[in-house]
Amino acid sequence: MHDARVVAARILVLVPAGAWVLLAPAALSPYLLIIWCYALIFSIACLGLNLVFGTTGLLSLGHAAYFGAGAYAGAFLYRFADIHSFEVYFLVGILTSTLLAAGIGFLCVRATKIHFAILTLAFGQIFHSLFIDGAIFRLFGPLGWALYLVGEGSMYIPRLTILGIEFEPEEFIPAFYYVIVFAFCASVFLLWRINHSPFGKALRAIRDNQTRAVYIGIPVRQYRWYAFTISGVFLGLAGALYGQLDRQITPEQLDWLFSAELVLATVLGGTRDFIGPVLGAFVFIGLDEIAGRWAIGHNIMMGLLLMLVVFVFPRGLAGTLDLVPGIRKVGLLMKRKWL
């Protein structure tokens, strides 16, 4: 039987969170709802990245590739197979990013530390260049090449049917919001389970001490590869959601700068706390919105805001918040029996 305080802590956190999640489409303006959706998607991507980065201890600078692959795969599918189902688009996006991550990860996990980071960056940029110079589009013949010339690598994705339902334009985002929330909750649940499974513990062991991990019989390279591939699943999932939300995918989402944003947001939130990447993603998106109010000097303002956050939260958002007694207590009660 649960301790009454544990139940109270969960109610205190989960009830308002659940109410907010359900009511957000009614409470937020259409613009803010889209930003909120984007923050949820970005959170999934950061959580996925953190399985490799924070949990396994490998810094990837090429995860944008898997995010972009998740969106582009569905875009090509729509163009060339005339598929209008979001579910098919979504699954194809995840499958593509998973295969891509498995292939690139197989090679990258042969290196560690800075060499691993450089390899992931190199593969990511190669993948990016295939879209920038149109090589991928050429694979689809003259129509593919024409698409490239028209969009310079960008692709349009229409509003797809969700569970066979075709939504009106004004209804689409509120409806799609619940798909994103479902994907977010499922991702958090699955990644949380992985993090607290024997496999997740083995990944942390690899991060902490590779030699000892080998000497208790953990197949280090193989598990790094598994972690990389699983990470690709969630990046592809996030990418596919992003493609449908934005209804356009551009090579920008494949560029290393986007990979760097993922890393930055994850570090901002805290790589050692499971919830850190989610906090980081939300704060990052929030800061970007604030900085966006300055038409000139947006990047300077974003840089200054990030510096401010880093100075105020040197242990990452999750790590610093954990020092606040009230929050720490609620956090510990939330974790009891769950972690």
Binding site: S197, Y215, Y223
Partner: protein, 251 residues
């Protein structure tokens, strides 16, 4: 009956003959100490047997199977485990998790993606039992990095022991700890090893420890075996005693 046998094992680092044609036999159930001055080749020999290094030539037989070129994972499965000269733990994980990981790994359960580690009662019970055997059960929630040196040494051995090895190598388990902790560590390790009928090979510099706990002592010098015998035989070997204990040569 021999559990482990090396045959003309050689490892050179440039011009240095770290291990130079060593023929070592380790019998089932014995507590063997490898002693010798720094650079005598003790750790290199253990590194070769545990696949941390590959030999230049020679063979290693474990239970009469040639394991010379077996990878680490297969040697662990065969029943060889080791601890390290410098404590080698997962410092950001709790003492409990350090041991539990070894148990999960031995049981082939680290592939489980979606089962919660804490829900595995069998692993939890075994882990607590191992921690209890080593007298550090009350530290189970403490991060390994936050333990005292003596406790870290014990945990290091406990992790290796949790693999349930047939042959356990302990590389200087008492280095860097106080005299009082040394006795406690060795009493604990010795009782666990003997109770489990585990064959143990220990590298140690403290000759009081060596003479007190060993069934047999192998003395190494410049990569070769200089002497091999019971503690009494080694004590009575004047040349060896002089080298190890600084005692005058009796012959």
């Amino acid at each position: 009956m021999s559990l482990l046998r090396t045959q003309k094992l050689v490892k050179h680092f440039g011009d240095t003959r770290a291990v130079d044609g060593v023929d070592l036999i380790v019998s089932q159930g014995e507590f063997l100490s490898l002693v010798g001055a720094n650079g005598a080749g003790k750790t290199t020999l253990v590194n070769l047997i545990s696949a941390y290094l590959q030999p230049d030539s020679g063979h290693i037989f474990f239970q009469d199977q040639d394991i010379t070129f077996l990878p680490v994972a297969d040697r662990i499965k065969a029943g060889i485990a080791r601890s390290f000269q410098l404590v080698n733990l997962f410092d950001d994980l709790s003492a409990f998790d350090n041991v539990a990981l070894a148990v999960f790994s031995r049981e082939g359960k680290t592939r489980n993606l979606f089962t919660l580690a804490e829900k595995d009662d069998a692993v939890t019970q075994e882990t607590l039992e191992v921690l209890r055997e080593f007298g550090i059960e009350d530290k189970r929630e403490t991060l390994a990095g936050g333990l005292a040196q003596g406790e870290r040494k014990l945990l290091d051995v406990a992790v290796a022991h949790a693999l349930r090895p047939k042959l356990l190598f302990l590389d200087e388990p008492t280095s860097g700890v106080s005299t009082r902790d040394k006795a406690q560590i060795m009493d604990t390790v010795s009782s666990v090893v003997r109770a489990g009928k585990i064959t143990a090979v220990i590298i140690e510099h403290d000759m009081d420890v060596v003479f007190k706990y060993s069934d047999r002592i192998v003395v190494m010098q410049e990569g070769s075996i200089l002497a091999d015998g019971s503690p009494d035989e080694i004590r009575q070997n004047g040349e060896v005693a002089a080298m190890l204990l600084g005692a005058p040569t009796s012959t």
